[in-house]
Symmetry: C2
Subunit: 415 residues, 2 copies
């Protein structure tokens, strides 16, 4: 079972948008044991599309195409697919009724020819009905390959993959099992981690592969096992994770994609009945935004004071002006006062504070570009640490957010 993903659109080739659709589709295919062997991004150009389709024909069992189905004139996918299949475009009555209802009923506008033409599909295609938008998905077969065409708008594509594509693929193909386990580690760099686990890695069985996925402040280790006996694969993965735990246990924070630091921290806070608040200067609200990206965070997160101006630190958080004058706004003393201030103000068990200079310029603070002080107020006192996260601005902010969450997570775990 081999699949290829094709993305159509000049906006990807000139770098204006990042292709996130392919990643979503690959993840969905991987879960049901369909391996994606190639991803391609090509232009909105008829000859390029035709050439690509014929190069993939019969080499892949499934070719899934996103993009180029919108209502506007730069979209030529549908006509080109039709030509490739030697078919003709016809109006699909169900889609036409749906589009009409959406435009006239929901948006309260008269329907236009551009809208109506969204209901055109190749006569031999099976329509994948798009309840969340106007462009239908299409399932077409030619010789040994299934071609699936989906709109490029991410939530429409996702809806169709989950509700129409995956069930049809499961029904049509027999597939091997591919199981993955991702181990999220924080605080050890990639090379050092590689050395620490070298002998474990060398002894992995042939059907288990390891990959390192580094990103700011963390390294994820991904184990992939492939075979026909699902139970045996699961047993092997569990055994390997257990061995790994004995070597680098203290660096492991969570497992798999869903267990991000903010999710794992949220579970821990909820389980222990603890509450948290933040006082953010250089992170500008991003710690709060990250914590509240988790549904149910209102159970443990009371809020944040984003104190970008010094007067906000003084008037709302109760940081003494004299402290700022003496130590400067980016200092251990001010970070400490901010954390204690918001802990008291919001009456929470724990509080995090950040102050720093994210750059790119020195600005009014004396601190070097990249400097961030993180303070953690606990029921038993306040701890601070100073870092330099380098540049650019975006990386400084992201590393400060990750490090702050890592600090509080490890602190609570100790107790």
């Amino acid at each position: 079972m081999k699949a290829a993903i094709v993305t159509i659109g000049d906006e990807i080739l000139i770098g204006q948008i990042v292709d996130t659709n392919s990643s979503f589709i690959a993840k969905s295919f991987d879960k049901i044991g369909i391996g994606v062997f190639e991803m391609l991004s090509i232009s909105d150009d008829k000859q390029h599309i035709l050439k690509t389709l014929s190069s993939l024909q019969n080499t892949f069992d499934v070719v899934i195409i996103t993009g180029g189905l919108g209502p506007t004139k730069d979209d030529i996918t549908k006509k080109t697919l039709c030509e490739y299949l030697g078919d003709e475009l016809v109006y699909d009555e169900a889609v036409l009724a749906h589009v009409t209802q959406l435009i006239e009923g929901f948006f309260k506008r008269p329907i236009t020819q551009i809208n109506k033409d969204q209901a055109l599909v190749p006569s031999k295609a099976q329509v994948l009905f798009n309840k969340v938008g106007t462009a239908p998905g299409m399932w077409m077969e030619k010789e040994n390959t299934v071609f699936i065409s989906l709109p490029g708008v991410p939530y429409e594509m996702k809806y169709l993959v989950e509700n129409e594509v995956i069930p049809r693929l499961i029904a049509k193909f027999n597939r091997p099992y591919i199981l993955h386990k991702t181990i999220r580690t924080y605080g050890i760099g990639e090379s050092l981690l590689a050395e620490q686990i070298e002998s474990w890695e060398d002894n992995l069985p042939d059907f288990v592969k390891l990959a390192y996925l580094p990103s700011p402040g963390q390294v994820r280790l991904r184990l992939s096992a492939r075979g026909n006996d699902e139970k045996q694969l699961q047993i092997e993965l569990d055994k390997q994770v257990e061995k790994l735990h004995q070597i680098i246990g203290e660096a492991i924070v969570g497992f798999d994609d869903g267990e991000t630091l903010e999710v794992v921290l949220g579970k821990l806070l909820k389980e222990k009945g603890l509450t948290l608040s933040t006082a953010e200067s250089c992170t500008g609200g991003k710690i709060a935004a990250t914590i509240t990206s988790v549904s149910g965070s209102s159970n443990y997160f009371k809020g944040s004071v984003v104190s970008y101006a010094s007067e906000t630190k003084v008037n709302i958080l109760g940081v003494a002006q004299e402290l700022i004058d003496r130590h400067s706004v980016v200092s251990v003393e001010v970070a400490e006062a901010m954390a204690l201030g918001v802990q008291k103000l919001m009456q929470t068990d724990y509080a995090l504070a950040t102050t720093g200079n994210a750059g790119p310029n020195k600005g009014d603070a004396d601190a070097e570009v990249g400097t961030v002080v993180i303070a953690l107020a606990t029921p038993n006192g306040v701890y601070t640490e100073e870092f330099n996260f380098g540049q650019p601005r975006e990386k400084v902010i992201d590393r400060a957010v990750t490090k702050a969450l890592e600090k509080i997570y490890k602190e609570i775990l100790k107790n």
Copy 2:
């Protein structure tokens, strides 16, 4: 001048990470008039890499490869490239000295064989010296194609593209001009926009292409002009933008990639000497984080109160408990009181507030999932509006952030 971008790594093919490198490279190439005609993601597999390289050989002038150069064992790119070129790996003395200095001098660890092997390069390759990491880039030529291999870590790849790759490409190739102009519109959907500008679009000259790039709350229009006379292209683009302005002027907020809503709003606030604060419930700090992602935002942004808990709304923002009890926490009345509360607390000219239910569950609020109320406090009164942004949670938050920034931008522009 045709280029292809190849990304190597199983983590992309199973959907674990999104490929952002290709987008960065494409944008950099586009700026110097090198067209990217294809992007491919392939596996860490020797045969797959060899087959891909030979299929691109002589069809493209430049093939740029990222990924697969890290210190760990899942990286086989370098050996495979060497085999493809019929070359052998040798130690590069300058790279070896750099790696040794970085590991022993900066990280204070003894150097290992894994580290040393990062200095291995094909003997005929030109080394692209990587000052910000340990894996060197490589420039290799075979027949009519230049192959460039770069590490996959985004900031190392970016450093090498900007400092080593682009200058060498400019020196080596003659290129046509490709000029782009992006027009950022807010508040009109894609289909309606397409109808409003249909006759303008039909009359665009042949060498100018238009693309629609919709995303939550906005549609970007991208004009691309290609030819040998740079000045003529620029005049034509300016003329077309001027025409477009006459048709949909009120929807246009900014131009080009850098002019995001938060940047344009920041400029306007700074220019007028106005200040802003936010009180955020359902957006959880993301409006503040978006505003402060812009360097220099401390000139106009004083801060935010992220009032996730009701008690935070009452105790810090001064929202009357009675108001919450009577109208519920997601209501026009509470949003209004939050905006006025933070405007007064932080003494700013303008203030934005959000309260809503981002979902996925109904939670303790009575409000439907997806409901968001946005309030804007101005020097002349407070305005509120209620929206339903549907699902999922992430989209609700993003649309609320965009809509809030759009509201204040358009309000200030009126005055």
